[in-house]
Symmetry: D2
Subunit: 382 residues, 4 copies
């Protein structure tokens, strides 16, 4: 089958690899019809992780079931399914509490937790930027779609990762109707966080970024754009809230946060968030941070190479804020978000900037990695 | 009246000050019969805050009501009351949600929140290490005690701060029956956190400290002592939990965390906690951290002088942990904890090491500040 | 001052009564500019309660502060405020948990709880269908409005009762984004419940009633109308949900539930709700039920005269449903809902059918009580 | 294999039936070493349900794994496991939220939900009062025990049903540290509810029953016994709480509630609970109620035959109480409760009155059904 294969820093190719196939009685085999490039693919693409050359990328996957293992009882051949990026077993201590993001079974390293398709350090699972995908524990992991699945794939594929991830940010930030919420980062996940806050009834949502195309997109869905290249976002938000700050907020950037000049500072958006949110406010951090980043651009910075981030913790404590962190448990949200799409109350495909063939992946990876103007979200159809 | 007055770094005196009195129609006047020295008094005593010389210390106060303002309707003269260290109005946006720890009314600086008796930067309220105390919004702030109040003052006075503060740590850490919980710091607040975890039904509680007298006390109430001067606490806890770590944990030390040799490192206990708690675990931080600490012992450390703490945030995010921070909203818990004392299910006075007269305050401050052996908690009777 | 006075069953008059005035140091005096007739006023109007003749009706009140007591510090003369129908003290065990609906202080009967303006069995507080209103504990009870208060009174006045009450129903029913929610009753409170469910992101909301004008209004705001005079509502909802039923639902009718022929049956809507909601679903009941109803139309029914309702409890238990009941704690929600109105995300005035002078009250009571076509909600301007 | 077989009303026999065996790739086969008789077995034993003659009883089961299906990966042959009475799939909409009590997959009737071993209307699964038990979806359903499993079977077997069921009652009643809690019913489940409330830190727990042996047992574990044959329990509890009532309470009796003279009244304990609990209190109902009970002793009572219960709903609404109902989701609690047993913080075997051989089952059923003095809980070892 054709697949997008990692060849080394900033290099992918589309080539033939052995067909994915049923390996365990609980597996599904899915013919991928839609698969996205994610911002976290870029961390691996840039060579800043241990992702092995020769592996296939792709953890945002949707397609049609073409074969099921003998122990699969719910999912049927011919159904369209969207797959959470989390690969989870369904029966460990974490999964049974709904914490499929930190499954203890599917992650082979005993002191770690959590698994994903085509992801560094998250188990041996091949990615879905390919014609076929093996899905372990298919009855547990696959979310079945309705009759409109095929025609609305660009909406439903967002259920694999970024829509639930943005939503999870707002859950950890405890966004409620009437809240005033700030989102740091207006990339695809930040857009989904802003969109989720509005779906939940927030009365005002600010989107902070320094890329004008992203700010324009956020404004289109109803958020208030704040250009951090031009103003101090925390001051703007405090001025709009009697000096108090937002009720809560989300960090959707991660350790590669950087100023408009490209200088990386992993504490930039975290400290902006602590500053912009009020006393006793809640913070949800879904931007990726790493325990260590030896290959970082700023490896001269000894702290960051060790995964340490000098956050304004004195201020955070003084304000009595809470913080939630980590990858999203996609299954916790994907049914409800699917129902919002099916009921025509949500259209997350607004974030898509490019729909391409799998063959165009190398060019798309390059453009997305350069953050070229207008390259917000790339959807591929194998 | 006699009161404990701050005279400058490491110097207090007991001397006459003007009598406290009713100033507003909603005030109470309380004759203090029991008042404690708190670890956070030491931050001020050491001259590391902006606490003004001439002010009276004391935010853990219990006594008998001797006068009530004309707008007080619930509390009666002659009743024994214990006063939350938080001074709160009861009607601002924060108080009406139960967040009396961050009251917007009683704190005079507009961009701040929260007030306390005898505390740096928390409003002009005199402390209760004195014969009399003025209590603003008395109906809201005072917790009335029952008939056993007078004889069990050393239990009930703990409701002013450390028992609810320790309990709050376990609330933010989401301790539930059956949990395995680690407490960093076995000072008075840490003891109360360990005790609270056990009251809630935790199946195992570890107390981490490097002072043998504190560890012995923790062991006496049923916690497992871990001496951080001798072992790596996180390793001990992981070894006891199949390598996974505790379910949740509390930080009860704060920015003056230091190794057995006295070297301060504000990230020491936070990073220990992140390491010792498992994936998706919850952390409650009630140890005090400051937005800035220019007078700190380690002011050579530029980061800490700015209130920045280089925490292992990459690891925290990777583990998907959550963190709650800040001072406790005492009123949220003090009724329930009072009922546990009254029902003889809790006896927090186990932490008291010294009961003294107000006149002995200077000596007690000195001993407590030196962390002299056996000086766990000092209770004074004016 | 002029006021709407209860003269006996189905009779009110507008006449002069002694001016309301400041009685306690914590009181406000408010010049009422907008006040509504509520469905629960009709229970009293019909003579089915112990409401005393000569008392003034009115618990949905908004106006301008004209005087403040000496212990009031937050609210200022000249501000527009909306008053929760709950009269609460702010410092009892219930109020400090946010349960102002069951305040122990303001209710004079020791074994009862909760107080309201102009309401049977809820304390001696005069109603606000008058030119002036005395507001006890003004700093705690009054919600201050912004600069648009005067011109948007018909929106903001809904914060006194029906908007928070409808919202409370959806809170007890645990409505979340993506849910499918059924509302029994499309009167003013039912409209607000349906509206609240949509503000929270429900994917589908059904409104069940047998009055075509009410169903038409519900449809206008986006709900799916179900006419219980024509179909079995539970069957309609099950058919639309693969036989499972709605995720959750609200009862917004109360003990006067009746069939299209006017036959009362207090179990009618409760049993409909139990039937229409799925296994483990959540039910919120804000329709009024009474501990006894000796004067009821159906007093021949011995059970109902004793406040007993023969609900399908076997089915409810078999389905593992939960149920929340009772009056709404308005203060818990009114700030957030105010912010939604101010941010132009909510316009609850859609429910208003009539805006009249106080003098027209007798005619309006009569029309509303008859449930005459189109009389959904009456707003009066004294 | 030997098994306890239902032969018709009030008749069971122990006889040979075909061996249980692996039927699906996800099954386990367990050699039962401990299995209990449950109060809900008696409903079937008495012939008041549709339980088929010839079927095997037993839904409280513990044993050793003797064979695993090819799709089982976690559980190993030789491990001791305790089986939740709920038979659940782990991947339906309900199970993935932790609602294994209302699994949609394992219940064969489409409009129903939930399955159990050896239970009327809950699927075709054979019971475990036998030498062998087939466990569907073994990795999901079985809870593995540690090295002390064999010697502490009478503690661990309580994890199959009554300990989590009693705990669930206290969860629905929202029992927290310091609470005053009333338990109606001091049978095995009521004992576990009282015990759970105390493990959670309740300050006072009342146990209400009219059987002296049960009250004596409740007193032994620290509850306050209230003999409903001698006093009005609600009055006793109100007198002890300033007239207010308990903070919350649990119903652990069910539709067969009866007075000391044996007269059944399904509303008896529910109405007692509503009366005994204070305003805004929470009620958890785990006693079994049925949608219909045509064979009931009181079938002359038309209401109850239809599953209708005339509860004091007017009073419940007036008090603003909440109510949770239904069978317990055992998996939600069994790990934590297992850890409490393993850590020696809980010893639920205190409830066991008789340990017998399987052969003695007919006699034990008879004694337990007669509620003979001292027959609290029967444990059988096949």
């Amino acid at each position: 089958m054709k697949a997008v294969v990692y060849e080394g820093p900033r290099k992918v190719s589309v080539k033939d690899v052995p067909d994915a196939r049923i390996e365990e009685p609980t597996d599904l085999l899915v013919r991928i019809t839609t698969t996205n490039i994610c911002g976290s693919d870029l961390h691996m693409y840039e060579g800043r992780t241990s992702f092995e050359t020769g592996r296939v990328f792709g953890h945002e996957n949707l397609g049609e079931v073409v074969e099921v293992g003998p122990a699969v009882s719910k999912v049927k051949v011919g159904e369209y399914v969207v797959l959470p990026f989390n690969v989870a077993c369904g029966h460990c201590k974490q999964c049974e509490k709904g914490l499929t993001n930190y499954c203890l079974t599917m992650q082979p390293v005993p002191e770690l937790a959590g698994a994903a398709y085509g992801f560094a350090d998250m188990g041996p699972y091949q990615g879905g930027q390919a014609e076929l995908l093996r899905v372990p524990y298919g009855d547990f992991n696959a979310l079945r779609l309705g009759e409109d699945a095929e025609e609305r794939q660009t909406d439903y594929v967002m259920l694999a990762d970024i829509f639930p991830t943005g939503y999870h940010a707002t859950e950890m930030a405890q966004v409620k109707p009437g809240d005033q919420t700030v989102i740091f980062g207006a990339g695809p996940v930040g857009q989904m966080a802003a969109y989720s806050a509005m779906l939940k009834g927030a009365s005002r949502v600010w989107a902070v970024d320094h890329q004008p195309d992203r700010l324009a997109l956020a404004e289109k869905i109803g958020a208030i754009p704040v250009n951090s290249a031009e103003v101090n976002p925390s001051e703007v938000i405090k001025d709009a809230t009697l000096g108090l700050g937002a009720d809560n907020g989300c960090e959707c950037v991660g350790y590669q946060a950087h100023d408009p000049q490209g200088h990386e500072d992993a504490s930039l958006t975290l400290n902006g968030l602590i500053d912009a949110v009020r006393f006793t406010g809640h913070l949800g951090v879904v931007g990726v941070f790493l325990p260590e980043d030896p290959g970082g651009k700023e490896a001269q910075n000894e702290l960051e190479a060790q995964g340490k981030v000098p956050i304004d913790f004195g201020m955070m404590w003084f304000k009595g804020q809470t913080m939630g962190t980590g990858q999203a448990p996609v299954k916790k949200y994907n049914r409800a978000l699917r129902d919002l799409i099916a009921g025509d109350k949500a259209r997350p495909s607004f974030v898509v900037s490019h729909e391409i063939d799998l063959a165009q992946a190398p060019d798309a990876y390059n453009n997305f990695d350069e953050r070229n103007d207008g390259w917000t979200k790339v959807v591929m159809h194998p």
